[in-house]
Each structure stands twice: as structure tokens, then as C-alpha cells.
Symmetry: C2
Subunit: 194 residues, 2 copies
């Protein structure tokens, strides 16, 4: 065997993630990163290959943890509509510091558009995972007459993904939990039958 790493890889990625969420990819230098991660320059390159690869790993990690958290909410919810509501409310429940950090999905979409194949593909996969889960929830909710029968599951799921993205943007600007809750409430109210 040989000398073991002095830092935890996952913790380091988390620190990099926070740094990237603060300023995006371009404006976060490798020096900012290694300082935030508390590791040396060479360790960064040995462990993560480069800045871009570290960013992609941070993005994957961020989205995986979001999926994990969201699916957890879904499982715990009493009804499919409650699951959707809990999802929208989850932003309001985050602590203020976390809430004010940009969502790396939204941020990467703004910074890279569709120009970067890796970023686009990671985001596309996340979006379709969420889309599928939400379609299922909407379909179930429709079956239980919790949402309007006239609503198309696919369109409604897309609407919810869009709503979530909008709330993430609003949250960065410092919107209060109450403001975020009221947005979620209106979105949910709009789905319910007469």
C-alpha cells in the first residue's frame, strides 16, 4: 500500500459544489476551488483530473442528491398531490444560506446553454427523471380526483419542472420562505379540481 489521502473525496466535492454554486464555472478559479476544498493544487488534479471534470462531478453529485431528496419526499407523502406540494415547498424549508445559493442545474443551463454536451446530457437525464416521476404522480393524483381531470400528465409535469426552476431563481434573490410558500400554494391550488 501507499500513503492515503488526507482529505475525504466526497467532502471535497461538496466544497467545490458550494464554490461553483456561488459563482458558476468560469468565475470560480482552480485556486478558489482548492482553497474552498482545503487541498493542494496537485491533489486536485490527481484526484479530479481537472477543473471541468470536477465541475461535472459536482453537478452530477448535486443532481443525484436532489433526486434522492425529492424521491424521499415522494415516498413519505400521504398522497400524490401532497408529494407534489412537498416538492414545491421543499425550497422554502431549506436553510437561508443553502436557499440563496444558485441551483447548479439552472446555473449550468444559463452558463453553458446546450453548447456543452456533457453538461447538457447530465441535465437532460435529471430533467427526464423528474419529468417521469412527476408524470406518474400527476397520473395517480388524477385517478384519485385530486387534480383536474382535464390536465395532461406530461404537460403538467413539465409545468411543475418549470415552476421549480422559477422558484429556484427567485430563491437566489433572497425571497422569503413565505413568498416561496405562497408561490407553491398558488401552483398547487391551480391543479386542483373545482
Amino acid at each position: 500500500m501507499a500513503r492515503p489521502k488526507e482529505f475525504d473525496r466526497d467532502e471535497a466535492v461538496d466544497c467545490a459544489l458550494t464554490a461553483f454554486r456561488k459563482g458558476g464555472f468560469s468565475s470560480t478559479s482552480t485556486d478558489d476551488l482548492r482553497l474552498a476544498m482545503g487541498i493542494g493544487r496537485q491533489s486536485l488534479y490527481d484526484t479530479f483530473k481537472g477543473k471541468k471534470e470536477l465541475y461535472l462531478e459536482a453537478l452530477r453529485r448535486y443532481l443525484a442528491s436532489r433526486v434522492h431528496g425529492h424521491f424521499d419526499l415522494f415516498r413519505k407523502a400521504k398522497s400524490p398531490l401532497q408529494a407534489i406540494e412537498d416538492l414545491l415547498l421543499s425550497i422554502a424549508l431549506e436553510n437561508p444560506k443553502e436557499r440563496r445559493l444558485a441551483c447548479l442545474a439552472v446555473s449550468s443551463i444559463c452558463e453553458f446553454g446546450t453548447a456543452d454536451a456533457d453538461v447538457a446530457s447530465i441535465n437532460r437525464e435529471f430533467a427526464s427523471t423528474m419529468q417521469a416521476a412527476l408524470e406518474k404522480l400527476v397520473t395517480e393524483a388524477k385517478a384519485k380526483h385530486l387534480v383536474r381531470a382535464s390536465l395532461n400528465a406530461e404537460d403538467t409535469a413539465r409545468y411543475l419542472v418549470s415552476t421549480l426552476a422559477g422558484m429556484r431563481v427567485i430563491a437566489i434573490t433572497g425571497a422569503s420562505p413565505e413568498a416561496l410558500r405562497s408561490i407553491a400554494a398558488i401552483a398547487i391550488l391551480g391543479l386542483q379540481p373545482h
Copy 2:
């Protein structure tokens, strides 16, 4: 008098705006900018003082033109609810190239958060202009029984701003006009009375 400029200042800002919308502030170099604007390096610094000032001017110009366009829609609309619907539908009506460019408001919020006072203040002013206009429309729509009486105008306006931001994000990823229209339709349907 003296030698006149060989370029149109407003056109130049528009070119810079497009460049910034493609990649954000940090990843757009002054060289990218002067090339996109078709002007020399010194002209850029003489006319706009620096990269940051050019960005702020592009952001202000972008938001002013959005406000102008939106208020135009509002004036032309047959009813306050129609005005809101037209606003949400306007993204779907943009040409594909324009639609896929990031909204500089959303993009600047992601890149700068609240860390930059200038950016934050410009965005805050735009947000409150839109918020006020939407509150007025919602109040009018309520009076005409076009939207649910139970909806609070302030919250509903915020909900609409958030919806718009979400749709802008979705649009960058290449969402079709149909997808964007369906999102707008669900949002509007949700506001209407039983």
C-alpha cells in the same frame, strides 16, 4: 468638432448583449466582445469604460426592452387576464434562436447572486416594475371575475414572475413552442375561477 464614431453605440451594446447571453459575464472575454461588436479594443474602453460597465449597460438595455415589450402586450390585450396570458405566451412566440439565449436577468442572478450590488439593484428594480404591473393586472382581473377571488394579488404577481423565470430556463434547454404554450396554459387555467 471631431471624428465621429464609426459604429452605432446601441447596435454595439446589442451585440455585446447577445454575447453575454450566450456565456454569461465571466466566460465572455473582452476579445469575444469587441469581435462580436465589430469594434476595436480601445473603442470599447473609450465608449463603455470597461467590461463590467458594458455588462451593466447591456443588462439595463435588455431589461428596458423587456419592460417595453411586456407593457406593449399589456396595452394591446383585450382583458387583464389576456394580458397575463400574452406575457406567458410571448416566450413561445420568440424565434428559436432568441428563445435559446439565456435571459440575462436569470443568468446574472445565477452568476452574481446578491454579491454584486449593481447587478442586484438593476434586477430588483426590474422585478418590482413587473411585480407592480402584474399586481395591477391581477387586481383588475379579479374585479372582472376573470381570476379566482381567493387569490391575493401580490402573491399571484410573484407567482407569475417566478413562472416566467422558470419558462425562460426551460426555453434555453430547447423546449418547443408547444411545450412552452402548454406551461403557460396550465398556469393561466390555474388562476381562473371555477
